[in-house]
């Protein structure tokens, strides 16, 4: 079982995933198939239903912006929180709640807008910016093409 870096070494982790869209559901299936205990939180029942057959974890229907929902997901006991809702600012707020209120060791949030990245990394939350990642990938793809010509 792959050990997740940056956390206390364990055999299985308790991971809370906020947001069950395309990204959330795929990561959820991947992590649960690796043997971790995964909880997925989403406000939309259909999104939770759409989780692939391979997903073998828990689901919670609720608003992740509400403390009660996060308490139900036992975020205080989580090793890792992945905050993947469609809205940047919501993700940042939930990530800060996870870090400051629930003291989750590792918190990763998705934010599409690169502007606010640096400001929030100082709070100890890791931000994944799909926009920047895409920029890097495209740069790489173009450079390779450039070299060949």
């Amino acid at each position: 079982m792959a050990i997740i870096k940056g956390t206390v070494k364990k055999k299985e982790y308790y991971i809370v995933i906020i947001g069950c869209g395309r990204l959330g559901s795929r990561i959820a299936s991947l992590l649960s198939s690796q043997g971790h205990s995964v909880v997925v939180v989403d406000r939309d029942e259909d999104a939770l239903q759409a989780l692939s057959y391979e997903f073998s974890g828990f689901t919670i229907l609720g608003e992740a912006t509400e403390l009660d929902t996060l308490k139900n997901a036992k975020l205080d006991k989580a090793d890792i929180a992945l905050v993947l809702s469609p809205d940047d600012n919501t993700n940042i707020m939930i990530a800060l709640v996870a870090k400051e209120y629930f003291s989750t060791p590792r918190v990763i949030a998705r934010a599409y807008d690169p502007s606010n990245l640096e400001v929030f990394s100082q709070f100890g939350i890791e931000i994944i910016c799909p926009t920047l990642l895409a920029v890097e990938s495209i740069k790489e793809a173009l450079e390779i093409a450039g070299d060949e010509s």
Binding site: Y14, S56, F58, I60
Partner: protein, 202 residues
């Protein structure tokens, strides 16, 4: 090596419990229904059973009551998404060792089983010992152990029932009080009702 059984109708719960417990070195067997678990228990008794409350046919509470009636020895840890105070209280009154809510973390499973295996012998075992002492007319010692039982299981009907047995010969009125208390807590205790009748009081 301690033997662990898990009873839950959800496959991923069984999988998670199996995984975590096996990595701790326990031998694990899982069941989707209470009936199958009871069958297996007859052939081989486990040391701890994790069980859910909502199950297909026989539910978790029935399962625990059946285990108590047959005076099995193992500890029971309930794992459930039902978290109402009533459900938790009624489970603890039946003498379970711990109650874990879903979703649960691997660490919660480990902590719980550690506590349960560590703590004193099950309610059932102690009850049996007390009854043996009563049969041997060792009332003083029986009363001592029963008093400790009250302390450890304040919400359970059993200490009352046992105290009734202890006091029956010399203090029938006190015994009747205890039997009545036991029935008040758990009205399915047929033995307590029978004892009360045999004392000639209602």
């Amino acid at each position: 090596m301690p033997i662990v059984y898990a009873v839950d109708d959800e496959m991923n719960v069984r999988r998670l419990i199996r995984q975590t417990m096996e990595s701790e070195g326990y031998e694990v067997d899982t069941f989707a229904t209470a009936e199958e678990a009871l069958e297996a228990i007859q052939t081989r008794q486990p040391d701890v059973v994790f069980c859910d409350i909502t199950l297909p046919a026989m539910d978790g509470i029935e399962f625990i009551k059946t285990v108590n009636e047959k005076a099995y020895d193992f500890r029971i840890i309930v794992i459930s998404s039902v978290t109402s105070v009533e459900a938790v209280r009624s489970a603890f009154r039946l003498g379970i060792c711990d109650f874990i809510t879903k979703p649960f973390t691997p660490q919660e499973l480990k902590d719980s089983i550690e506590q349960c295996l560590k703590s004193e012998e099950s309610l059932q075992k102690r009850s049996r010992e007390i009854r043996k002492l009563v049969d041997q007319k060792k009332y003083h010692r029986a009363a001592q152990l029963t008093r400790k039982l009250f302390f450890d299981y304040p919400e359970s009907a059993f200490p009352h029932f046992l105290m009734g047995l202890v006091e029956k010969r010399d203090h029938p009125k006190t015994a009747a009080k205890h039997f009545r208390a036991a029935i008040a807590i758990d009205d399915t205790l047929k033995e307590a009702e029978a004892e009360l009748k045999s004392l000639g009081v209602e």
